[in-house]
Symmetry: C2
Subunit: 390 residues, 2 copies
């Protein structure tokens, strides 16, 4: 039986660049002790008090169909948080609760793009971006960045890509690069969206993980609130990755249609999970800072470890739970380096090429294991890189 | 900002037929005591032992990203259940766990249909069906049934609709009619799918609620397993509506692509919910029969209450948590009857017209309140109908 070309083409037919990841998994299954620095997931679990709040909500009877747009109180809590942190007037009517950030990314592109439309994204990119765009039947078009601009898109590159496109997807703080977009970059993005009548889809799921500078939500830039769909999530901010709860924040008219879409795609998010999310948000920013603290600490340790050598250079690690390491001094591709490192040192990192062409000659290191093991692995990676220089 | 025509057209632009439902909600908000017989949701909550299993799984650490296809053990449990009940060899590779039955319906149509393809469904229908088809960019085409064939589609009607279509969506036991499709009907459906190379999307979420006859999964018919995508759910069988956990069962090649789609649309289902679902399935069929028992009992009470009068006739209530009542003897439309009943008796039922044109002159009654209140309301409905006959 034939399947739709839309679904069979989601991966674009190419290698997905996750060969090192699966090779590491096979080695682990074979009993080999591999240090895994591949996955964007905390080395802590969801906090017990959040889980207890969830259980109390479920035991209290919140187990039936929840309101499809999200519970009124969680929508209000998310709106209040966004209004407070960005200064943009935001109400519950601007918020749709979604089963995770990925569902929000998909829904936002469903809203912005018809089949055949062109949707822009920035290379390097989070693994699902081009497939999400293909999944809605649109055409993914990368804006390729370069290491010498710290992987931020330039005004020229954005403008060159924009004619005829319907949407632009950005992610700051950025996975995989750890870069936080400057106000200059965000200004250029906003201008292009206005000049070319683009929807801006702004993935801000790492907004609580900023180590240097400040995160600006582009929805707060002049005249951008009406054309921006912000994707948020409890995953990274509250170590709730598995709970699949996130949101889209945007213009009320768009949210109304996105609620209709949700009725026909997901039919809402478990009520007891929404109650747990509301509880977690109510714990205040201190909880978010505590969840982020290990990555901030390891990022500082990374900079210390890289000092005094030239084999490995860090892309400025301004945010998120990753550092992108430039290993071009070794003469190896990211893919070759990552495979060789896995074979020689049993350390798994992601080749830059897993995230598009722009990050070739780099590897992404997830700072998601405890400090001592992390720094030991990083030091071995540096030593390994030094041995590769001819 | 313009939104995609796909998302703005999901509702098809017409009335959604839920006027009575929202009017009842407004009356309740205004303090009026309304008997609500509109919603397909149990009058019990999810069982405490299932919620405890969920909490234990979460507290035990299953709070990170779960495997996108579903946990291996839940996929195996669902496959074993399907194999045992249908006789069709089924493994975990035939199963994708989804965040609820609605997500499964959407994904199945994404897999079967490209934008512009024609997707068949049976009228009367569950409210989201045509919008789900429009949501994937396909064209919904109803197969209109009739009261005198108990709202089962005829071979002629199915064949007439099939040329050029890509998929056929059926639902047995049926919401809204309560009919369980006969083997003759299912045979005609299977033959048409084979003759016209259609995907069969079989929504079987009410498969544990059969009061008369037997439910046959069409995937078990000869040569149908390769072209059938079965939609299942824990919602109705285990009173887990709000937990949003269901599945698609189908050919392994289709499931593999549906896993890729899930990676780009939902990124899986919370692991602790999957563990709770696995626990619930492990409790055996007795638990499912206990959850279904109130509807079986109320269905029998309904037949007793309807005896000895001619104003209201029940469509044979063979399964599911609804009875469809034929009120054409009153000369009123279902919509007029339901509105008048709400005004006069403060009883809310769904007009048949909410579910398409085929069920005009009918109302759907959800048997979802306790027995005494249910029968009292039904008797008042009958008396009201008798007063409407000229």
């Amino acid at each position: 039986m034939e399947l739709s070309s839309r679904i069979t083409n989601i991966t674009g037919g190419g290698s997905d660049g996750w060969g090192v990841f699966y090779k590491a998994r096979r080695m682990i299954d074979a009993g080999i002790n591999v240090t895994e620095l591949t996955i964007g997931e905390h080395d802590i679990r969801t906090a017990p008090d959040i889980l207890r709040a969830m259980y109390d909500a479920a035991s209290g009877g919140h187990t039936g169909y929840a309101e499809v747009p999200g519970t009124a109180s969680l929508r209000r809590a998310v709106a209040a948080r966004i209004a407070e942190r960005t200064g943009v007037p935001t109400t519950a009517d601007n918020v749709l609760i979604t089963p995770g950030g990925q569902a929000a990314l998909f829904a936002a592109h469903m809203a912005a793009c018809n089949p055949g439309d062109t949707a822009l994204f920035v290379d390097p990119y989070y693994a699902t971006y081009p497939g999400t765009i293909r999944g809605v039947g649109a055409m993914p078009k990368p804006i390729v960045t370069a290491p010498d601009t710290n992987f931020e898109p330039t005004a020229d590159a954005i403008n060159a890509a924009a004619p005829g496109a319907k949407s632009l997807l950005i992610n700051t703080p950025n996975n995989p690069t750890g870069v936080v977009y400057s106000d200059t970059t965000l200004g250029a993005i906003a201008k292009t969206c206005q000049d070319h009548d683009l929807w801006l889809i702004s993935d801000e799921v790492y907004d609580t993980q900023v180590w240097q500078g400040t995160h600006t939500s582009p929805r707060a830039l002049p005249d951008m609130a009406d054309r921006t769909l912000v994707v948020g999530s409890m995953s990274k901010s509250h170590a709730m990755t598995g709970s699949r709860v996130g949101w889209i924040c945007g213009p009320e008219a768009a949210i109304n249609h996105l609620i209709t879409l949700a009725t026909h795609t997901t039919y809402g998010v478990p009520g007891y999970i929404q109650d747990a999310a509301e509880f977690a948000l109510g714990q205040g920013i201190e909880v978010e800072e505590a969840v982020a603290a290990p990555f901030r600490r390891r990022r500082d340790l990374t900079i210390d470890a890289l000092a005094g050598q030239n084999a490995v250079r860090a892309v400025p690690a301004q945010g998120a739970m990753y550092v992108m390491l430039d290993i071009r001094a070794t003469g190896l591709s990211g893919d070759t380096f990552a495979n060789a490192l896995l074979d020689a040192e049993h350390i798994a990192v992601m080749p830059g090429e897993s995230f598009g062409q722009a990050a070739a000659g780099h590897v992404r290191v997830a700072m998601t294991i405890d400090d001592d093991a992390y720094i030991a692995a990083l030091n071995r990676l540096i030593q390994f890189a030094q041995t590769q220089i001819k």
